[in-house]
């Protein structure tokens, strides 16, 4: 590798690097503002001034901007040269003319790039005595606080928001000394990635509004490397806690996953840990008890039930809890499932097998695809995958989206294909057929499918991404077969339903969920242990669980958030939230990652794995060691430590993939239910006050054509009927919804007992 010199130090560089990029990569600090690894060079702030030594004797040294000057072999650069130093001092002095001296009360203080740079290079005193330019701040919603007076016009915010994240509601207004970064009018930022402004801004213009409501100085925060618990991507995070409460979450770099950014669910979802309704006290049949009494009651129930026990793990529960609960229940002679809905179990199991067989790209690799098909509402399920697709799109990839409701990614797509839930897998099979013959020959263009098929066929690096929850097992298989038909270069990825869905899938036996549910329904189970799952709140199967648990002698529930299942528990043992314990998640790539305990509460709650271990030890089942349970599950894997990039599992589970059978709906009604989700929708983040205040209103949403045929007016109220009951909802008409589809939020689906793709009756209310 070629190198150049910075103040007598050799700095290697890659072709195309500028001086600043090469220096920062080599750990040589050059002061800078507007340069950002993800956003590149702009040359606007003039702070990265360095001196370049003359190469010919007749030349003179010159001061250049390190971010704009290409690195080349033999170049001699000085950061310390007096001319460069003076240039940087001048820049800082100018930036500070308008910047308020409010560091003591500024949220950014202590982690402020401007503060660091001013201390590092600026003059110690201010000479400017004039009036400062001031602005009126905007209300940017509940997540990001705006303080425009602190702006130094580096344009990082709009470059990130508009160019990188492809948002359109934050911009640079006006001109001259009055450049203003904000929205057209007050209102919540619309991007699901708006929270990154907090980290992108080198000073305190955009700060974390949630953190601000319960602020602590950054140097007082307890932090530890963690993994985001809000989806299957497994972004690396750095939560910060103070005095026994969790205050904020920041991004932590992972070279192959999230790198510089997080989605707003990952950044602001943590507020669930401080929710007033969070279960703090153990309960036995409505009576508040202490932990050992609750454990004693649980043991008693397990012993009484004998082999008539069942356990339900969860894709949002860590690997060791799932593995240990499975061991405990199986050794006790009972049934275990890591899922609550047989459909989700089958879909996840298939997705995991396909990515085991075919491999799956890292988040960073997704950006290099040149044609992408997204099947499902990706933004709502795995927002950071959506951000990866946006980067590919910026790199000129053609993007096709098959969706059933309004979808942020579809508005950016080249092929916006709107289909009712049950038509998705039909379309995927049709695409496969077009590719198997040749796209050109197919007659007519069905929803733009032929064009999309041709694009995928001619791409060098096509990428298919499927949302497992809405695709179902049949759709998951259809997408994998489509990838196979594109040949070896096609990449396949699935957004799995939960941070440890992959882990849950490898703990789970095929068909276990159906077995557990039926065993509970038929009274074969006396005692059911549920950890971090909400079977009673399920969309498709919740009503069956709600009826079935009535046949139990006892329902033992461990969780860290309130839920229908928690409320129905006979014995409730509250457990630690993720930042209050350590554990392992396996992400969508099959990457085992460890999250560390960040802090301890004044009255610590046990981790669920500790509760299960206590039960196992007391029952003397020899199943009590979490590490052994994981080692048996992942033989030969040296588990990673927290802060390490994780270990990707090589294919080891059964590779034969039995073809799934598409379930045929038995229910009445001709409306297909489509899940109307959004980027904050998650069993944990639903309890995050600020984030969930942005949740869309609960409506039944249908397409205008469908409304016309069904003679439904815009302001109508409709009655929905499903197997679990009926529910009145206001009607909303939206052209982004597929025909024959009624889009419903999760809570409404749960109440009427219909899952995504199920059928429902709908009629206008008088």
């Amino acid at each position: 590798m070629t190198a150049f010199e910075i103040d007598a130090r050799q700095v290697p560089f890659n072709n195309g690097d500028n001086i600043l990029k090469a220096a920062l990569n080599a750990g040589v600090e050059i002061p800078h503002f507007c340069y950002h690894h993800a956003l590149g060079s702009l040359g606007a702030c003039r702070l990265c001034a360095v001196e370049v030594k003359p190469e010919q004797p007749e030349q003179r040294p010159r001061v250049v901007m390190a971010c704009m000057e290409p690195a080349r072999a033999g170049l001699k650069v000085s950061v310390a040269a007096p001319a460069a130093l003076r240039a940087r001092q001048g820049v800082i002095e100018f930036l500070m003319t308008n910047h308020p001296h409010d560091c003591p009360v500024c949220d950014e203080g202590g982690e402020c790039h401007l503060q660091d740079m001013t201390v590092a290079c600026g003059p110690p005193y201010r000479r400017y005595r004039g009036r400062k330019r001031t602005f009126i701040n905007q209300d940017l919603g509940p997540l990001v606080h705006h303080e425009m007076n602190r702006c130094i016009t580096c344009y990082r915010c709009t470059r990130y928001y508009q160019q990188y994240a492809l948002g359109t509601d934050l911009g640079a207004m006006r001109l001259r000394n009055e450049v203003y970064f904000g929205r057209f009018q007050d209102g919540p930022l619309e991007s699901p990635f708006a929270g990154n402004l907090v980290e992108v801004c080198p000073t305190g213009v955009f700060t974390d509004k949630v953190f601000r409501s319960r602020f602590a100085r950054v140097w007082d925060l307890d932090t530890a490397p963690s993994i985001c618990p809000h989806c299957s991507v497994g972004c690396n995070t750095l939560p910060g806690a103070r005095l026994g409460t969790l205050r904020r979450v920041r991004n932590r770099d992972h070279a192959e996953l999230n790198r510089w950014f997080l989605c707003d669910r990952g950044r602001f979802g943590h507020q669930y840990t401080e929710h007033p309704e969070r279960p703090w006290q153990a309960r036995v049949r409505g009576q508040t008890v202490n932990y050992s009494d609750a454990l004693g009651a649980a043991l008693d129930q397990l012993q009484r039930a004998g082999a008539a026990v069942a356990g339900v793990g969860s894709p949002r529960e860590d690997l060791e809890s799932n593995a240990l609960l499975q061991r405990l229940i199986i050794r006790h002679g009972g049934f275990f499932a890591a899922f609550t809905d047989p459909g989700i179990e089958a879909a996840t199991a298939h997705a995991v097998r396909y990515i085991n067989r075919m491999g799956t790209p890292t988040l960073a690799a997704m950006e290099h695809a040149d044609a992408i098909l997204v099947a499902g509402e990706l933004t709502a399920v795995a927002p950071m995958m959506d951000l990866g697709v946006r980067q590919a799109s910026r790199n000129k990839a053609k993007v096709g989206v098959i969706h059933h409701v309004a979808d942020p990614l579809a508005t950016l797509a080249d092929y916006d294909i709107r289909l009712a839930p049950r038509q998705t897998s039909v379309a995927l099979k049709r695409l496969q057929g077009m590719i198997a013959t040749t796209a050109e020959q197919s007659s007519g263009d069905e929803h733009g499918l032929a064009q999309l098929a041709a694009t995928l066929m001619h791409a060098q690096h096509p990428l298919l991404i499927g949302v497992v929850e809405t695709l179902g097992a049949y759709g998951v298989a259809a997408l994998a077969k489509l990838a196979q038909s594109l040949g070896g270069q096609a990449a396949l990825a699935y957004a799995l339903p939960g941070p440890n869905a992959y882990g849950a899938a490898i703990v789970n036996e095929d068909g276990a969920t159906q077995k557990v549910l039926e065993a509970v329904e038929t009274g074969k189970v006396r005692c059911l242990v549920v950890t971090a799952a909400d079977p009673l709140g399920d969309t498709r199967t919740g009503w069956r669980w709600r009826e079935a648990v009535g046949r139990l002698d006892s329902l033992i529930v461990m969780d860290c958030v309130d839920s229908a299942t928690v409320r129905a528990a006979d014995i409730l043992i509250p457990t630690a939230a993720w930042a209050e314990r350590s554990g392992y998640f396996i992400n969508y790539e099959g990457r085992v990652q460890c999250f560390d305990r960040v802090f301890e509460r004044d009255k610590p709650l046990p981790a669920s794995v500790a509760v299960i271990a206590d039960l196992a030890n007391a029952l003397d089942l020899g199943a009590g060691e979490p590490r052994v349970a994981i080692a048996d599950l992942l033989p030969g894997i040296a588990l990673p430590l927290a802060g390490e990039p994780g270990i990707r599992l090589t294919p080891r589970v059964r590779l034969d993939v039995p073809p799934p059978i598409e379930s045929v709906a038995g229910a009445t009604g001709h409306w297909q239910v489509g899940l109307a989700s959004w980027y904050g929708d998650d069993p944990l983040a639903d309890h995050a006050a600020a984030l969930s205040s942005l949740a869309p209103a609960s409506t039944a949403t249908i397409a205008p054509d469908t409304a016309r045929i069904a003679e439904l007016a815009t302001d109508a109220r409709v009655m929905l009927r499903g197997p679990a009951g009926s529910l009145p909802l206001p009607l909303c008409i939206d052209a982004n919804v597929a025909e024959d589809t009624v889009a419903l939020p999760r809570s409404a689906m749960c109440q009427i007992g219909v899952g995504h793709g199920g059928y429902v009756e709908l009629e206008a209310m008088p």
Partner: protein, 156 residues
Amino acid sequence: MAEQPNQNDIHPTERIKKDRAAIVEVMMELQAKRGFLDDQDVIEAARRTGLSPTEVEELASFYTLIYRRPVGRRVLLVCDSVCCAMNGSERLLNTLERRLGIALGEVSRDGAVTVLPSICLGLCDRAPAALLNGEALGPLDDARLDALLLELKRSR
């Protein structure tokens, strides 16, 4: 926006690019109604071009010839870039404020005139220069300024 090929013949992204490119004309057209753009006009411009209201506002608040507040029937843009500043644009602006009795950006009571500073008008050879509803003026020495003020007064 006058002559457009059949919309269906153009690829969607190409069409969006075309519509976006029309933003300045759309803003000028909307501004012609009342002399400035109100918030509703910004939203309307966004609707017509496929830009977001924020993106329209970025442009509307940047361009010197687009006004987001009511202006007088005639707008006097006084250049304050380097050449004009060296040749007395600041004094010129102060004088105009004083003699017209309005601050920069305000509308005179009779609705006749608004004075605004402007970035370089490209009239450096006539510094200090100004633009009165598109007509180039300058160099605005004391005599020419008196004549200009007289004309503004007459046209009221």
